[in-house]
Symmetry: C2
Subunit: 574 residues, 2 copies
């Protein structure tokens, strides 16, 4: 490909409205353009990376025996109503009507559709297992689309589904896919971790997320230094912490004028934060829920949602607080009455405290010497806090580490949740009708592109793993005005390009400095420069983008050296 | 691929709700399933054919210098409003709102989007030409989705767009694409014709359709036996026919009780049909239009639409007729007054008649001896009839032939229609701002699958051209119970499969008859049978699906013979 023809309009400045580096660099390198909020057009460079990821996925998923299909994006409401998810997805689902007024949605995922499809023709255990997948656009009307391809409203996903006669079969498929996912992300050159996940809105019995480790990730993940435990923080039930503080005193009201945050109160009363109780008020569907955790802990909202089996999780409004008799900034469960629409839940570790401080439900007043087990009355108790850096591994008691990840894939054991609701049954070998055991498996293809950049970049631009780089090599003639240089560069281009469509020849009438900058920005794994050195000594320079290493080789050995370096990168997933 | 694993649930009966053969066979062969009206899931066999067509497209379109991109399906209303097509598409466009109430549509085509996209970064003649394309789902909420993939609401399209500095550049791109399209459909093994087309709702200066010749086609096309003229009937302006009938008589009313069709009246009055005038009443947007053609002619609605620059073309309702003083079955332009909302248009050939019969606008009465030029008063005259079998070639006067086609591709010279409306301008080498010259080029990928089947099938099933067959070869062991047969078949499968992923081994525990039926239905180009002959004489049978020819070859020569036959098919686009 000639750089003069390549449609990759690079920008001179980093776009200021982009926050994360993948977003900035994809815009700057001319890989994509924003069309609407959370909606992008992928230009040739991005398209090539996407296609390479898709091909890696196809190769590895086909090895599991799965077959590629393509299901509609636009789907009738009925199948979503049958599983109840027409409402579960709420505003996050794009909905529309056809010319006859019938309801449709743009699929955010395909469990309903694939179950309906496979059910049509699969009625006997003899036809099981079935394993299918597809790669196509998905749609989610995110409340806050952001970070470019990390959280967009239209994105490319690979989604696979398996159907088995029993749990054992399902578990086997799950393992096959887990292994395939591991191979896929390894081949994509990513540093990642499979972690235990909550199954969330998809549902089911077990789930793992594949998290690319990157500081800009939105997922909080935790792993153990001593055993192989790794999980999304949302999926971890931390140990209940006991307290050795003894307290015989009765609770007592103290004045705390203007001290309406945990930090202020504790500071004002000279108490450690962990001796206070933090109140967070949620609206879970129609129920206002007052959640109490220790002052130094955070609420695990996903657990809360699952405990209350709620579809929507929001913060309670001022009106909600008032209606329940709560005073913002000074909230206390003491003396409150729960009702059908108001509940109180306390983290188990709170109930172990003996001398706590908490709000008094009156402006500028707090309680001290509170013993929750004694003073909170009849409240629900469960583990609702997030694990944090002070905790130990819930498996082995070892040292845990908190880090950030970008979720690029997730695998689920669904069990019979969807097959029961959508009548996906089969006759077993005794002629008895039984629901199929399902699994589902997703990879965010466009998000994988972004995650790769989040993990692989420097101040000059992108550093592509060779397997998913838009092109593998750029050839830069440093002096466009020298006919000899251009001829030599072109000769190299023809020699390399003949074997594969992976080389860009920067034939543009630009200064060498601009070409080098663009080469670093776009992130070609190898840059071959024909410059002064070549004119002086017949040597070309081959630069490894990832390490910055430069190899000077005689012109006639260049093709061989390029192949050697590419093979090295390929073999090491770099 | 083992047939026992392949997800292609064949049906025993032809689905009765399908009308055309591609629809019937794709359902019967387990290639697809209907999900909603005009919406299908593509199962593995269909997906493979689709993928092969896409790969042929990619190879040939890349040769033109075009680059593959991917643009959003979900598009903001604003860009469609800017060109006026938000209304032009009307009910045929799926529209929706996001969670913030903003208007979007599901793109039926991408002129607005691509023009907006390219405009963002292309501001100088130095950056032109630009040529991009994509392959993705398109959406049209058809009034009557039908014929399976021939007219569905969600379908896969390849759409390409070029941007040039001048008309000459545009014309060059058009030729490149025209040639690429010719290569694509040739490689797909289709008998097709490029024909002159009307540019319709897309607009522009020139257009060709690529029509696959098939009786079940919805497009009426016409070509000349003597020159290379070929056109969609809608795009042809036939010659004006003169008449040698002389008539001095005044028009006269005759009684025609119950004779409310052309055929009945002419029969009743013993007049040839071509001496009558046919009246058809349309509603073109807000205007009722009475269109008059000779009794043996048909109205060209596309021309009518273009003459009146109308967005919507419908038949007029009974109320419309009444409001304009028209009597259904006996309509006449004589004595009528046109208005802002009612117009009369006469085909030029009607104005050449001298002794015609037409309605009298009174029930059971007709005029005879009508001379339209004398009697019709002040009506609009234009060529509004369709060409028909009685006409001559408008180019050379030669013999023309009418036939049916399935439109699988279309190329357009758009000129500056979109670039002007969407500010896609550039600075020319004099620093002057000018709009870009555009072209657009579409291929219906899923429709090509259907068109291929319409053209290539027999009473037993599909006859795939080898280039787009889901698999190239099926190996059928005729006797599952013989271990020797199974072993021999498996040996052959392993030998063939090792070189490519194009072989199905029918390992199912079914009778040979069922396997043969399925092989014919699915339409593998080659069937290799290991049966009695092999047990008797060591020979396998290789059957060519297209011709029915059977080759008996010794087992040890089978691989070679299969390769030879596949090469023959490939080289001849069969």
């Amino acid at each position: 490909m000639l750089a003069s023809k390549l449609y990759s309009p690079t920008l001179r400045e980093l776009p200021s409205d982009a926050v994360v580096m993948s977003h900035k660099y994809m815009l700057k390198a001319g890989m994509m353009r924003k069309i609407a909020n959370g909606t992008y057009a992928y230009l040739p460079l991005a398209f090539r990376s996407i296609q390479k990821i898709e091909n890696i996925i196809r190769t590895e998923i086909n090895k599991t025996g799965a077959q590629e299909i393509l299901m509609p994006i636009i789907q009738p409401a009925e199948i979503w109503q049958a599983t109840g998810r027409w409402n579960v997805y709420g505003e996050e689902m794009f909905k529309l009507k056809d010319r006859h007024g019938r309801d449709y949605c743009l699929a955010p995922t395909h469990e309903e559709m694939v179950t309906t499809l496979i059910q049509m023709d699969t009625n006997s255990y003899k036809k099981l297992p079935v394993s299918v997948y597809q790669i196509q656009n998905k749609y989610r009307d995110e409340k806050r689309p952001r970070f470019g391809l990390m959280r967009s409203r239209e994105f490319i996903m690979k989604d696979g589904y398996t159907f088995d006669a029993d749990e054992e079969g399902m578990n086997k498929q799950y393992e096959l896919m887990y292994d395939a996912y591991t191979r896929i992300f390894t081949r994509c050159g990513l540093k990642f971790r499979p972690v235990i996940a909550d199954s969330g809105a998809i549902g089911g019995n077990a789930s793992h997320e594949f998290e690319v480790l990157a500081d800009s990730g939105e997922a909080d993940i935790v792993y153990c230094k001593d055993c192989d435990f790794a999980a999304n923080i949302e999926a971890v039930k931390p140990n209940t912490l006991t307290s050795d503080v003894k307290n015989d005193k009765e609770k007592e009201i103290v004045q705390t004028p203007g001290q309406h945050t945990i930090e202020k109160v504790c500071n004002y009363l000279h108490l450690p934060v962990k001796s206070s109780v933090k109140a967070v008020v949620y609206k879970l569907d129609d129920t206002v829920v007052l959640a109490m955790v220790r002052g130094d802990h955070e609420v695990n909202e996903v657990r809360l949602q699952s405990i209350y089996n709620a579809i929507n999780v929001d913060m309670a409004s001022d009106e909600d607080l008032k209606a329940c008799g709560l005073t913002a900034g000074y909230i206390s469960p003491i003396g409150l009455k729960t009702s059908e629409h108001f509940d109180i839940i306390c983290d188990a570790s709170v109930m172990e405290m003996q001398d706590a401080c908490c709000g008094a439900n009156v402006k500028d007043e707090h309680y001290i010497h509170v013993n929750p087990a004694r003073d909170f009355g009849n409240v629900k108790v469960d583990t609702i806090r997030q694990i944090d850096a002070g905790d130990v591994c819930p498996h082995c008691g070892g040292k845990i580490v908190l880090t950030k990840g970008i979720e690029v894939g997730q695998v689920f054991k669904l069990g019979t949740k969807y097959s029961e609701k959508l009548d996906a049954t089969f006759l077993d070998n005794n002629g008895k009708s039984r629901p199929m055991f399902m699994g589902c498996y997703g990879i965010g293809v466009t998000r994988t592109v972004a995650a790769s950049i989040e993990q692989n970049h420097d101040e000059n631009g992108i550093i592509w793993p060779v397997a998913i780089a838009p092109y593998e090599v750029v050839i830069v003639p440093a002096n466009n005005k020298s006919e000899d240089v251009m001829k030599a560069a072109e000769g190299l281009y023809n020699a390399l390009e003949s074997s594969q469509d992976e080389i860009v020849f920067d034939d543009r009438a630009e200064r060498a400095g601009i070409k080098f900058k663009d080469a670093d920005l776009i992130g070609y794994p190898l840059r071959v420069t024909i410059g002064k050195k070549w004119q002086e000594s017949g040597c070309v320079e081959i630069k490894l983008r990832r390490t910055g290493e430069v190899f000077e080789v005689p012109y006639e050995n260049c093709v061989e050296k390029v192949e050697e370096l590419l093979n090295y990168l390929r073999e090491n997933n770099l």
